[in-house]
Amino acid sequence: GQQVQQSPASLVLQEGENAELQCNFSSTATQLQWFYQSPGGSLVSLLSNPSGTKHTGRLTSTTVTKERRSSLHISSSQTTDSGTYLCAIEMNYNQGKLIFGQGTKLSIKP
């Protein structure tokens, strides 16, 4: 089965609403990273958060390691937030490679 599962697969919101994206993984994650990808664009690292809560700008990530889940909260969404959000984990410490989920496609309507 899929080692990293993201939900929802797609999300449509009105500008100004908050978005909540979920990431669940099947094994202990020693590293967890959230990425943003615009249509046809490259991957942009948003947050590295293997455990606990981290904030940057309008983004908040909370990772509960023992429950093997992470969330990304986007407050006061803007149309420019539209794109795909990807969660990726490293399963063993120092293994290096990231395993990606299939992503959540976020669409923010004006």
């Binding site: 590293q31 990273q33 990425f35 664009g41 490259s42 991957l43 942009v44 690292s45 590295s48 293997p50 990807l86 990726a88 293994q95 290096g96 490679k97 990231l98 395993i99 990606f100 989920g101 299939q102 992503g103």
Partner: protein
């Protein structure tokens, strides 16, 4: 800081031809990773180097794919006898590999189309 540089951005090859993709990591980063992205499979790990040494190539198709890192400033991914199923965006990433946590930073990718 120019970020991770990948060239070419687009490459079109005929079936059976060779394709070489280039990656220049962020200066000072000691780890370089290669991934492949397709609509069907999503993002898949291919291989990575640390301090120029190959560490893990578990994601590489064995027969036609090879990767090298001859110096700390560039890595290449070579695909021999390209097939239509090799069409994908090939992404290179680098990280500083600090103990206690690190982040991978991605380049813009090379879109390979095999006709």
């Amino acid at each position: 800081n120019a970020g991770v540089i990948q060239t070419p951005r687009h490459k079109v090859t005929g079936k059976g031809q060779e394709a070489t993709l280039w990656c220049e990591p962020i200066s000072g980063h000691s780890a370089v990773f290669w991934y492949r992205q397709t609509i069907v499979q999503g993002l898949e790990f291919l291989t990575y180097f640390r301090n120029q040494a190959p560490i893990d190539d578990s994601g590489m198709p064995k027969e036609r794919f090879s990767a090298q890192m001859p110096n700390q400033s560039h890595s290449t991914l070579k695909i021999q006898s390209t097939q239509p199923q090799d069409s994908a965006v090939y992404l290179c990433a680098s990280s500083s590999w600090d103990w206690g946590g690190y982040e991978q930073y991605f380049g813009p990718g090379t879109r390979l189309t095999v006709l």
